[in-house]
Every structure is written in structure tokens, then in C-alpha cells.
């Protein structure tokens, strides 16, 4: 093996890029392998006609302003030293429900804790007290998570009991259970939970601490997007890795992880063998333990673990380049959630298959990033989720019509319920299904959300089991498969965390 590296990172998704940059910065000889010809995984862009589309990012959490930076800004700008042109998302969301009759919602919620609570009180008089309790609980959760994070996996139970009692009391429950105990009016609960689809998990299954931390970070830090699409971030990380002495090989597939006596000794690729003792995989454990390793080298415990986990939501996105401005069309908001109802269990069940009104998270990019498309135009994207691999069963000859049918339903629902016309102004359209995402990322079933964080596999136990989740020495997982689960901000942070753990592995091996 002529090429030798301290660490090989498989997959240049957000986690792989961050991990590679962190390793290179620590002075390790780093090689990043990516099977596609672009960095970023889902964080990329594509051009159709005179439009450059954002494939996946709606709003990046935990960036914050320069004065009040969040974890993601800290990591990208301060720790890794990249610079990004950020655009602020103007409002939290507009939430519309369409099948609840007189209970249908059509509300716009702002960022900012006070603003959010005030607006909720305006929509749901009498909600303030429970909302304030909710916010207080969010603050307590943030403090507890900060403590757990700083403790490096060795949180003192006594300190937790004494200083973070409310966190312990709510941390084991679902969103639905906790909101009920806060005696929050039902309508306020429904408005509050709009972001549930960012996790793909119903509020009955979704861990409260996870959801509360996400919502609170959005409220306090706002949401941001890079002006040149998420590709800007990926390219900036790519450049930084090179600056720090790392190498990146595109169009390179990690085909086999080579082992000897149970130890990782290298990676076999379509461009030759690479010697390394450490692999950071920003790709699915299914691919690593199923397709890249001899099954005899995979411990039974590891196989059980992979099989026990549930593949997370698969995304479907319709992209429109429109030949009218957002103002001309009457698109007032950036982010629209359109659901049949706020019964998230029902909504989640509908996402098991095809249905007439796919839930949608829709974005008008120009509302946050006015210069993102040529003068006189705007860009929209319509996203829905699938909980099962239904797209895998579509006959190849029906595929084009099927994706158009779903796209048409989503556009029509938007037109009907927001009350504006879009179809006559479509200058460019592209439709990405889970099959498209499988094509470009190779993720199992084209899943965007790695392993579901529903039920038992949520963030807290994953963090508390960091050590025991590591079964095959020398391989760690970054990106959406890391402990802090999926979603843009988490994948960057997972990349850093995984690199730090790998550095610790190296230190330990050297001793």
C-alpha cells in the first residue's frame, strides 16, 4: 500500500468534512474519500437554466449572529476558520393545517423568545403561563445539556440531581407527555410543534429534551442559510481541509475496509489501497458493516445493533424556478409548514405511503436570500417525507410520472391553501425523490435522516452510550449517524465530536 494516512474519512458529507478538517487541524495526515464528484452530500447545489437550487437546507440551527454566536458558528468560523456569507431567515414559520375544519390553523410565528410567547398569546389567549413554563424548561434543558457536554460523558449524577432536576424529570418523556403536564392549551401545543417534521418523528415518539433544545435554539439564535446555498459551506470546508494539509479524493469509493487480526489496517478503493489504522465513516453503518467489511469480521453485537435501528425519513423535494418575484406572486413568508392536521401521529402514519395531500415544508428562498435568483424571479422548494421505502417499489417505467404526480399535488395544495398561483410561472422544475438521493449519496433507501431518533434511539441515550456504541475499534461514525443525531447543525457538530473521539483513540493507542 503506497498511500498511508493517519485517518481516512469515508464520505464528504457535513460530518465527514468537519471531521476531516478537525483531524487535519490536529496535525493528522488526513485523506477524505467521496464517491460523488462534489463535497457536501446533501449540502450541495445544482443549476437548472438561470437558477441555482438549494437541495436540502431549509434553515441552519444554532448559528446565531456574530454578537451572539451559536455552536455551529463557533465551530465553523472560530474553530475551523472558514468564512461564510450568512443570510438570516426572517421568521420561524407559517403553519397551515388543511383538514381540521374550523380548527384549521393559519399562523405565522416569529423568532425571539418574547416575540414567540407574545404571538402565541395573541393566537391563543391564556397560553402565556404555560408557554413561560415551557421556555423555563427549555433553559434548564440547555443548561443540563451544556453540563453533560462539558463533562465528556462523565456527568456526575449528584450534580444532575441537584442542579438539573427538572431536566432529569422531563428528559425521559416524549413531547406530547411533557406538554400535557404543562397544561398548555391544546391549540398552543399544536402551534408549538410545527417543527416536528424536521425530526420526522411524531410528538408521541419524539423526545422532549431533543425537541425543546431545537426549538429553543431557533428562537434564541434565529436561523441562517449560506447565501450561495449549502454548497458554499461544503466548498469552504473542502478548501480549509486542503489548507490544513488534508487531501480529498472525489469519485473514489471506499469498497472494502481492510482488517488484520481484528484491527483496521486500511481501505480498499477503486483508486487503490490506502493504509490507515483509523476510519471515520460519514456514511451508513449498514454500508460499512454490510458492504465494506467481511461479515466474519463484524461482531454479532454490531450486526444486532445495525439491524435494530430504524432507517430515518426519506425526503422528496420539488424545486421551482419561477419567472416572477416573491412580491409579485404574493409569497410573504420564507418557511411554510402545510399539514393535514397537527395530529402528528396521523401525519406520520400518512407518510408511510403515498397520499393525496403530502405534508409539506416549503421554502421561498428569496425571502431570506433576496439575491439568490436573477431579477424578476424567485426560487421555491417543496419537501415532504416518507417513513418507508415506498419509492423503491415504484416500477422503473412509472417513475417519472409518479414523481410528477406527487410534485403536482404539493404545488396544488400550496396554491389552494396559501391562495396564490404558481404553476403559470414555472420556468424551471426539478424533482428529487429518495431514489435521487440514493443515487447521489448512496444512503440506504435514500434516507436523509440516517437512523430515526424516535422512541428509544434518541439523542440522550446515544450520548450516554457513546463508549459502548463503539464496537469495532478503529471505526467511528460522523454525520447524521453520529450521536447528536441528524439535521444540518447536528451533522457538523457530530463531525467535530467524532474527530475528537478519534484523536483520543489515537492517543490511547500510542500509550
Amino acid at each position: 500500500m503506497e498511500h498511508a494516512y493517519d485517518v481516512v474519512v469515508i464520505g464528504a458529507g457535513n460530518g465527514g468534512l468537519t471531521a476531516a478538517a478537525t483531524m487535519a487541524k490536529a496535525g493528522k495526515k488526513t485523506l477524505l474519500l467521496e464517491q460523488h464528484n462534489l463535497p457536501g452530500g446533501f449540502a450541495t447545489s445544482f443549476v437548472r437554466g438561470r437558477f441555482e437550487f438549494e437541495p436540502s437546507l431549509h434553515e441552519l440551527c444554532d448559528v446565531g449572529s456574530e454578537e451572539n454566536p451559536g455552536e455551529v458558528r463557533r465551530l465553523l468560523e472560530q474553530t475551523l476558520g472558514i468564512s461564510v456569507g450568512w443570510a438570516a431567515v426572517p421568521e420561524a414559520y407559517r403553519l397551515i393545517t388543511i383538514a381540521e375544519g374550523k380548527d384549521n390553523l393559519n399562523v405565522v410565528m416569529p423568532f425571539g423568545v418574547k416575540e414567540f410567547v407574545d404571538q402565541m398569546e395573541a393566537y391563543v389567549p391564556g397560553s402565556r403561563k404555560s408557554m413561560e413554563k415551557f421556555i423555563k424548561l427549555c433553559e434548564q434543558i440547555m443548561a443540563a445539556l451544556a453540563y453533560i457536554g462539558a463533562s465528556g460523558g462523565k456527568a456526575d449524577p449528584e450534580v444532575l440531581m441537584k442542579e438539573h432536576a427538572n431536566f432529569l424529570k422531563c428528559g425521559g418523556y416524549s413531547v406530547s407527555q411533557v406538554l400535557k403536564s404543562l397544561h398548555m392549551p391544546k391549540k398552543a401545543q399544536r402551534i408549538l410543534c410545527a417543527y416536528w417534521c424536521y425530526t420526522g418523528v411524531s410528538t408521541d415518539e419524539l423526545n422532549f429534551a431533543l425537541f425543546a433544545a431545537m426549538l429553543y435554539k431557533y428562537l434564541v439564535k434565529g436561523a441562517w442559510i449560506p447565501k450561495m446555498r449549502s454548497h458554499e459551506l461544503s466548498v469552504a470546508l473542502d478548501a480549509r481541509i486542503r489548507e490544513l494539509g488534508g487531501e480529498i479524493w472525489y469519485n473514489t469509493r471506499a469498497e472494502k475496509i481492510l482488517t488484520k487480526d481484528g484491527k483496521i489496517i486500511g481501505v480498499h478503493t477503486n483508486h487503490g489501497d490506502i493504509k490507515t489504522g483509523h476510519v471515520i465513516a460519514c456514511c451508513s453503518p449498514n454500508a460499512v458493516f454490510g458492504d465494506m467489511m467481511d461479515h466474519s469480521d463484524v461482531p454479532e453485537k454490531q450486526t444486532r445493533m445495525v439491524n435494530a435501528r430504524r432507517i430515518g425519513a426519506r425526503g422528496f423535494v420539488t424545486y421551482l424556478g419561477l419567472n416572477k418575484t416573491a412580491d409579485e406572486l404574493g409569497l410573504k413568508d420564507y418557511s411554510y409548514f402545510i399539514y393535514e392536521s397537527m395530529d402528528t401521529v396521523k401525519e406520520s402514519a400518512r407518510a408511510d405511503g403515498f397520499n393525496d395531500h403530502p405534508m409539506q415544508a416549503t421554502v421561498c428562498l428569496n425571502r431570506a436570500n433576496p439575491g439568490c435568483s436573477p431579477e424578476g424571479t424567485c426560487i421555491m422548494s417543496f419537501t415532504t417525507l416518507y417513513n418507508k421505502d415506498v419509492w423503491g417499489d415504484v416500477p422503473p417505467e412509472d417513475y417519472v410520472n409518479k414523481k410528477r404526480e406527487v410534485a403536482e399535488k404539493m404545488i396544488r395544495d400550496f396554491e389552494t391553501h396559501v391562495g396564490i398561483s404558481l404553476t403559470p410561472y414555472i420556468e424551471e422544475i426539478e424533482i428529487a425523490t429518495p431514489v435521487t438521493m440514493a443515487r447521489y449519496t448512496l444512503n440506504p433507501q435514500g434516507a436523509m435522516y440516517s437512523y430515526s431518533c424516535g422512541d428509544w434511539d434518541t439523542m440522550l441515550p446515544r450520548l450516554m452510550m457513546l463508549k459502548e456504541d463503539q464496537i469495532v475499534p478503529g471505526i467511528r461514525f460522523a454525520g447524521g449517524y453520529g450521536p447528536r443525531i441528524y439535521g444540518y447543525s447536528s451533522t457538523y457538530l457530530n463531525g467535530e465530536l467524532t474527530a475528537k473521539l478519534t484523536l483520543a483513540d489515537m492517543k490511547e493507542a500510542a500509550q
Partner: protein
């Protein structure tokens, strides 16, 4: 708000126990997973492989001659990927010591893919490197390697008018032939009026096939326009605004263009007179010109010889490069199998990192991502060197 006593269950201690149970619950669930060997390949991954194969191995099963300078090749394969009428295949070629690709529109009905075949039509290009070689060398029984179906030059009902006026020049008829077949076979549903420009009657490609389709369906209509010959039954001259307007028959139409650069230059000016919004005008790719000299804003000298330094997976090669040719051509001449597909700046498959030096990229071919422009990435298929260059490429 000051701290408050929070609990879900009546007694807070039970809530803490609930918290404590999270780890054991996850441990138990993970241990319950099956011991069946794991896989990362599922239905959607398999379908992605069927629809978008990276390469396809096809055999030439039949060659149809169209006069002296054009042939159609029927290619058969085990399960060729389905395609949309108007898409192309990128064909991989080895000519002498060069390795290269060429994009050719698929000219048959989309139904053919389900019968395990495609048709491609190749016309001899003046000074062309690949087209002449293909016409002279491809034989029945030869195996060729292509990409999956690529490109976005197809009818899309959510975007396009129900009536499409196709403006075809010479070999640019091929994607329209496929669209016409698709309409006849019920695969697509739109009206297609074709304004098909040829030099002389004898140069018309697929005349019989087009006539047969027009007879079989009233949704397809063909108007032949001859530029170098006045003949009865044919329009004479070029594709003008007037001809286009006539073809639209009062409908709001989408105009689809496919033909040589000279035709685009003329027809685009005619289309301007019609005052249409860009939504209704779609061009098939412009192939990057053989020489940059004719681009108005070209700042270079086409007679220069430069050196190209290429970083390839940790190795470095150097090769000569002519200022009159694209960076991609220099790589191909040196036998570097650099990635490429559309060769018109659009697909981005050839994306490479420019480490030093300057290139000229004609603005109308520059479809790079914004962040790539800023970070110094180029699309070698339409980048002409203005001096010595150092680049990094990633052959597949």
C-alpha cells in the same frame, strides 16, 4: 420566571426513574436486533441503479445508413435504463492514445428501452474528431460503453406549453425524433410542430420516419425548410420569426431548439422579435466550440502552446496543451480519462479544481455553481487555457 417544580408523573422521583430507564431501554432494543447480515442496498438504491447506471455496456446490433455522412446505430444491452425523449448518452471512446466522450441524443422511442435497445444517430462533423471515427470504425457486434441517460432537454408538462414548436437544424433533429415517437407511442402527451432546417432535400435525416409519425398521429406536424435549395413542397431559407409564429397557430407555445451553433445564432435573434418570456424557450446544449477564437470576448491567442500540470489522486502529470482547445481535450489527448458527460458546461460532471493559471470560459457556457466560481473550480469541457495551468481532476 423563577424555577418551578416540574413533574409529569404525580411524583417527580418517578420521572427521574423514567430518565434512568432510557439507557437500559436502548441497550435492550439494540440487543434485540436480528443477526442476519447487514446490507446498505434497498429498493430505492436498486431503482437508482436501474434508472441512473454509471455506465452501460451495449452492443451494436444494427447500423442504418442515412446517405454518406450519417448513420444510426441500434444498441442493445441487458437492461438499458429507461430514458425521457430528448435525453442523451455520453459515449466513451478510445481513439489512438486519446480517451474521450461524446454526447449523442437518443433518437428512438422511449419504448425501445423496455425492449432492451436504444438508437443513436451520428453525423460526420466538419473537422470532427470523434464523429468521423465512429462512422468509419463502429461495426455490428462491437461493444461500446455509455453513461446512463442524461440531460434535461425534455418535455415537462408542469412547465412547458401543451404545444411545442421544435426548431431543429441538421443532426439536431434526433431528440425531436425521439419526442415524436414518444407522442405516437402514447408515452408523452403534447403537440409537436417541427420546423426542421436542412441544407438540401437530400440532407434531410429521418424524412420517411418523420412522415410516418405525422401520418400516424395528428399531434405531430413537420415543416421542412431548405436553406440551399428551392424546391416545391418545401419552405425556403432559414427558421425565421415569421415561420415560428406560423407554426404556433395562435397558441402559446414552448420553443425547443436543437442544432448547430450557427443555427442558434440566427434563430435566437429571430426569437427575440417574438418577445417571449424565457420560460418558453429551451435550448439543447451548445457543444463547446472547437476553437475559442470566434467568441467575441476571447482575450487570448489561439496559436499558443502551454503546459498543463495535473494532480491525480496524489500523483502529478504534465502534458502539452494548445490554447485553441479546451482543458478537457488536452487531458483526453494525454490519455487521462477525466470525467465528462455533456461537454457543454452544464452537467458539471467534469468539475475540476484550478490550482493556478487562467482560463477563458465563454459566459453563455458558464453554468458553474456560484461558490465554485469563487473558489476557483472550472468545468474543463468549456474552459480554454490562457497560459500554463495546474489543475486537480478526479477520474472515475
Amino acid at each position: 420566571m423563577s424555577n418551578f417544580n416540574f413533574h409529569v408523573k404525580p411524583i417527580g422521583l418517578f420521572d427521574m426513574l423514567h430518565f434512568k430507564k432510557m439507557v437500559p431501554a436502548r441497550q435492550k432494543a439494540l440487543a434485540c436486533g436480528s443477526t442476519t447480515s447487514v446490507t446498505g442496498v434497498y429498493g430505492s438504491n436498486k431503482l437508482a441503479g436501474i434508472l441512473h447506471p454509471k455506465t452501460q455496456c451495449l452492443t451494436i446490433s444494427e447500423i442504418i445508413e442515412h446517405g454518406e455522412n450519417a448513420k444510426s446505430y441500434v444498441l442493445t444491452g441487458e437492461h438499458p435504463a429507461p430514458f425521457r425523449a430528448g435525453q442523451y448518452l455520453s459515449v466513451s471512446l478510445k481513439i489512438g492514445s486519446s480517451v474521450l466522450t461524446r454526447p449523442y441524443s437518443i433518437s428512438c422511442s422511449p419504448k425501445w428501452a423496455s425492449e432492451s435497445k436504444y438508437a443513436l444517430t451520428v453525423k460526420r462533423q466538419q473537422d470532427g474528431f470523434a464523429s468521423g471515427w465512429i462512422l468509419d470504425n463502429w461495426r455490428v457486434g462491437d461493444e461500446i460503453t455509455t453513461s446512463g441517460p442524461e440531460g434535461t432537454f425534455y418535455y415537462e408538462p408542469l412547465r412547458d406549453a401543451k404545444h411545442v414548436v421544435g426548431l431543429a437544424g441538421g443532426c439536431g433533429i434526433t431528440p425531436f425524433l425521439s419526442m415524436a415517437y414518444a407522442i405516437r407511442d402514447g408515452v408523452e402527451d403534447f403537440r409537436l410542430t417541427l420546423l426542421y432546417g436542412s441544407r438540401k432535400e437530400a440532407d434531410i435525416l429521418y424524412r420517411r420516419e418523420l412522415d410516418e409519425i405525422a401520418k400516424a398521429t395528428d399531434k405531430v406536424r413537420i415543416v421542412h425548410i431548405l436553406s440551399d435549395e428551392k424546391k416545391e413542397g418545401f419552405e425556403y431559407g432559414f427558421i425565421t420569426a415569421e415561420e415560428i409564429q406560423k407554426a404556433c397557430e395562435g397558441d402559446t407555445c414552448s420553443l425547443f431548439l436543437c442544432g448547430p451553433a450557427a443555427m442558434y445564432a440566427f434563430v435566437d435573434k429571430e426569437i427575440e422579435k417574438l418577445n417571449l418570456t424565457g420560460k418558453f424557450i429551451r435550448h439543447e446544449l451548445y457543444a463547446a466550440a472547437a476553437s475559442p477564437g470566434k467568441f467575441k470576448d476571447y482575450p487570448g491567442d489561439t496559436g499558443k502552446a502551454f503546459t498543463l500540470t495535473v494532480k491525480l489522486y496524489g500523483e502529478t502529470l504534465t502534458m502539452p496543451m494548445a490554447s485553441s482547445e479546451t482543458v478537457l481535450v488536452a487531458l483526453e489527448r494525454a490519455g487521462v480519462a477525466a470525467p465528462s458527460r455533456c461537454r457543454g458546461g452544464e452537467c458539471g460532471w467534469c468539475r475540476a479544481k484550478l490550482d493556478s493559471g487562467e482560463v477563458f470560459l465563454p459566459a453563455f457556457l458558464d453554468k458553474r455553481r456560484m461558490a465554485d466560481v469563487r473558489a476557483g473550480y472550472i468545468h474543463p469541457c468549456c474552459s480554454y487555457p490562457l497560459g500554463d495551468l495546474a489543475i486537480e481532476v478526479w477520474p472515475e
